[in-house]
């Protein structure tokens, strides 16, 4: 399957950036820079063998024609460096920086100052659990925690977050080791299409530590920054109520 994918999208991979820089020239996949950046994070060996394949890379490939022809998300312009620990790049103006996400340091090179935290998480670091909805702070799909507090990652530039502890849905729990709030959302059917769910859960986990009242009405107000187009609100409130009561 991976082979046929490679063949099918070979025409896209022949596009090379107009101005390759040293960093890219040193990269094995220089000609595939744009494409490579949309691959999930895997080791260099796997990339070389061309064996990496995921739903996201497939969907990205389908959209790659327009992506290459037009405006790519700002954060998708340069390759990502694998997580490293203990190393902090000097920030001069904006370009290189280290973000600490879910307890790991990610070093980023040539980051456009216009890149939001949301686009950086999704397009540079491939932490795609955080969703882009309205991109204007109105829907809450992009909710992450910064230093333990929930924020809209679409309304914040990534360059402003060096030194911050960032937590995304990937850092809250994983399959087989769900956070109590994730398990409660499953139990109560707190979603339908699921697109807003990671933002809902990030808000719900954050409100456990906020000084809000005990009633369902308080939960509704505290969750009002997260819009659910499917209308799963009743079940979302039930999930949050259960976790709050179990921790009371």
């Amino acid at each position: 399957m991976a082979d046929s994918f490679d063949v099918r999208f070979k025409h896209l991979r022949s596009h090379s950036p107009s101005k390759p820089n040293d960093e890219v020239a040193n990269c094995d996949q220089a000609a595939d820079r744009q494409f490579l950046d949309l691959e999930p994070l895997t080791g260099p060996e796997e990339h070389r063998k061309g064996s990496s394949f995921s739903r996201r890379s497939f969907l990205s490939g389908l959209g790659a024609t327009s992506l290459l022809a037009g405006a790519a998300p700002l954060a998708a312009a340069a390759p990502v460096i694998e997580p490293e620990t203990g190393e902090t790049a000097a920030v001069d103006g904006a370009s290189d920086l280290t973000l600490r996400i879910n307890g790991k340091d990610y070093r980023l090179r040539d980051l456009d100052p216009r890149a939001t935290l949301l686009d950086t998480l999704r397009e540079r670091l491939h932490l795609t659990g955080t969703k882009k909805g309205c991109d204007h702070g109105q829907c809450g799909a992009c909710t992450v925690h910064v230093n333990g507090r929930r924020v809209n990652s679409c309304l914040s530039f990534a360059v402003m977050h060096e030194g911050d502890e960032i937590t995304t849905i990937e850092g809250i729990g994983q399959p087989g080791n769900l956070h109590a709030m994730q398990a409660a959302f499953v139990e109560h059917d707190g979603y339908q299409c699921g697109y807003c769910t990671s933002g809902q859960i990030m808000s719900a986990v954050a409100l456990l530590k906020e000084p809000i009242g005990p009633a369902d009405e308080d939960i509704k107000h505290a969750m009002s920054g997260n819009i659910c187009r499917c209308g799963a609100y009743t079940n979302i409130v039930a999930a949050v109520r259960q976790v709050r009561q179990s921790r009371a």
Binding site: G93, R114, G137, C154, M160
Partner: protein
Amino acid sequence: METFSYVKAPSIDKALSAANQAKFIAGGTTLVDLMKLRVETPQTLVDINLLPLDKIEKLPDGGLRIGALVRNSDLAWNPEVQKSYAVLSQALLSGASPQLRNMATTGGNLLQRTRCAYFREPSAGTPGGYGCNKRTPGTGCAAVDGFNRTHAILGTSDQCIATHPSDMCVAMAALEAVIHVEGPKGKRSIPFTDFHKLPGDTPNIENALEPGDLITYVDLPKPIAGSHSVYLKLRDRASYEFALASAAVVVRVEGGHIRYARVAMGGVGTKPWRSHEAEAALMGKSANATVFRAAAEAALAKAKPHKDNAFKVELAKRCLVRSLKLATA
């Protein structure tokens, strides 16, 4: 989004010296949004989040000093604010969403820009776009004859009818806050009612800040002993929505008579709307529904509704009457 250069200021002096052709960024909730819409196109962003302006401190005279970088949620949940300035806590918690309140700062909220849909249109004020004198002076105002249900009825001009969107500012107007600023010409303080400007013929000038000015603190005067305060906000849905009409009132009643009254309104004015007329109609009178209604009539006497927002006149009156009832109950 237009590109910009980004610098992080380690001190107030450094921030001020970097301010040329720049915008300060703190929470970013208004600025990043408007940069995406190309309403704001700063050449340089000066990140001020490292500045030591994130404290809430009691002043020797009994007042409260709020640093410009204090987040809206921290201010709303501060025990002293909840106890002595309840109207401010209520106003903050009625605004935006919990996520936005965790980001938005006190200084940034003072500079929050209007939600007028014509103003927010990326091409407004450019050839082929909607007219907007706030975006580009002289291009007209599309809202005057456009869809203006949410627009202002007080303080408008034929150049601009955009509503000031902040809840926090309405409470601060009633509390008679003072804004402290540091800039190229040194430090100065600005009484709250002088900070925001009426649109008049220059709706592009929204406040008393001059180029390079940095808001450092907002001071609240000593709480009025024996007073009660309320913020009441009326809107299209119960949360996460801008006001159609709101009222912030601080009143003290002694022996059935009103001895102190401060009234400000939101959602209806081109700036946070302090109503001296309502205050005059309340002072010395008995605290009853007839007097409250007279105060509301006085507050809205000069209201000038447009095609879609005439309902706001009566809504604002009832909002003020209800808030006065709550504060004197």
